[in-house]
């Protein structure tokens, strides 16, 4: 198993992560990823730090000294077509070249055009979860464009037949995000990431927003009214990683680069050790707020993966998640 860990971006956080990894022998941790410069491109998460090339180089060298790879996230889902202008093309080529000179190991991108541009560089091209790869056909398209790694759409985390099909269809590495708590088949997903991509870049809306995070607020409200949606989300318990390894997926990524560094370290520890007892919502990124409202007992979820593996996801005819919600999820008083 290989784990990819979020890095908030400031050097001290990287040092804390590495210190725990080494002190506790968390050898599964092989990579960290952090946001790049918002002046070049936004990303799917808020950018809390804007590292210059020199800082990226310094941090990458430090990571390498500790046997860790460094990846840079540039997974905006909308650049306003800047990448297709001559100026944009030159800027991306310049930035990729600088990242390469800085020793960066991989670049995480969502835009297919950038996947192709990265062919000119020895860095790994890591297709973002925001490329929404949810089928063998789409995986093959991205592999043909130049992907070395594909992070598949979390919507299919529990679609084992499709995952198996993707593994068979391509030769590149397949990666799963394990602790994302987004709504299954979320109707806001594309719009929300487009919004985040703009807000985290210089390509900002021209006027102030009257609802700065409309989609997030809707997401929370939906779960408060229908808590079953929390169980239907695509999270994977640390104990269930083995079920994915059994179908040939051994590369996993933790989400959460906008969270506090000690929270990230906790998640790294639990997933490395493949064990967590307590409220599963404590280790899910996005939306973290739910952990103060609900308690999802991870031990009561034991064995649910066996149902989900073969589930047709026709919820109206099944009702399994409704029943499990009654057993495993309680409201915190």
């Amino acid at each position: 198993m290989q784990l990819m860990i979020p890095h908030p971006g400031h050097f001290d956080a990287l040092k804390d992560i590495i210190e725990v990894k080494e002190a506790e022998g968390l050898n599964e941790v092989g990579e960290v990823f952090m946001g790049g410069s918002p002046e070049v491109m936004g990303s799917g998460r808020g950018v809390l730090h804007a590292p210059l090339i020199e800082e990226i180089k310094e941090q990458t060298e430090y990571a390498h000294q500790h046997d860790l790879k460094m990846d840079i996230v540039m997974n905006s889902t909308c650049t306003g077509a800047h990448h297709l202008t001559f100026e944009g093309y030159k800027m991306f080529m310049w930035y990729f070249n600088e990242l390469n000179k800085a020793g960066v190991d991989g670049v995480i991108v969502a835009e297919p055009y950038l996947v192709e541009l990265l062919r000119d560089f020895p860095m790994k091209t890591i297709v973002s979860v925001l490329s929404y790869v949810e089928s063998p056909q789409r995986a093959k398209f991205f592999e043909d464009l130049g992907a070395d790694v594909i992070t598949v759409d979390t919507n299919i985390n529990r679609h084992f037949k499709v995952l198996e099909g993707i593994v068979k269809a391509v030769n590149c590495e397949i990666k799963l995000i394990v602790n994302e708590g987004c709504l299954y088949r979320c109707p806001f997903r594309y719009s929300h990431y487009n919004l985040a991509s703009h807000l985290s870049s210089l390509n900002q809306p021209r006027f102030p927003l009257f609802a700065p995070d409309f989609y997030f607020d809707k997401c929370i409200n939906i779960r408060l009214r229908d808590p079953t949606q929390i169980l239907k989300s695509a999270w994977i318990r640390p104990e269930d990683l083995k079920d994915y390894e059994a179908i040939g997926i051994t590369s996993f990524k933790l989400s959460g680069r906008t969270k506090a560094v000690n929270w990230i370290i906790d998640c790294m520890r639990f997933y490395s050790q493949r064990s967590f007892k307590g409220n599963l919502l404590d280790i899910l990124d996005c939306p973290q707020m739910l952990r103060d409202m609900f308690y999802m007992d991870t031990e009561k979820l034991e064995g649910a993966i066996d149902h989900w593996k073969n589930c047709r996801k026709v919820c109206g005819e099944c009702g399994y998640c409704n029943e499990l919600t009654k057993e495993a999820l309680t409201i915190i008083k």
Binding site: G9, A13, V47, A50, A260, V261, N262, I265, D292
Partner: protein
């Protein structure tokens, strides 16, 4: 309490203007979070992280006095920057719950890159 909070806003603005120059404090508030943390926070315009570095001790002293006046123990004091910039947009004094003592204030590093820790009670 209403008067105290209003006074805190005015006093913070006045003191920061004496130290730094033209600072605007549009809003100050006392808050309680679902996790158990309580605190005092002031939104700011005009302050930069260099100012906070230079006047850290004085800013801490002002915030300690103001937070105590509204009943908040100054366990953890921090400035929040506008992400990716040096503009400080909030100063916060927080009395921490057990979880946040470990998760938010327990790391050697600042918890997030947009947060500048000014004081931590060990």
């Amino acid at each position: 309490m209403k008067e105290e909070i209003g006074d805190c806003r005015g006093k913070l603005e006045e003191e920061l203007r004496k130290l730094v120059g033209n600072i605007f404090v549009p809003e100050a508030k006392v808050f309680g979070m679902v996790c158990g943390c309580v605190g005092f926070a002031a939104d700011l315009r005009g302050l930069q992280s260099d100012d906070v570095d230079v006047f850290k001790e004085k800013i801490n002293a002002i915030l300690i006095e103001l937070s105590k006046s509204v009943g908040v123990e100054p366990e953890f004091i921090y400035a929040r920057k506008l992400p990716g910039s040096e503009e400080v947009v909030t100063l916060t004094v927080r009395e921490l719950c057990e979880r946040c003592k470990r998760e938010f204030a327990g790391s050697k590093a600042s918890p997030r890159p947009d947060i500048v820790v000014l004081k931590k009670r060990r």
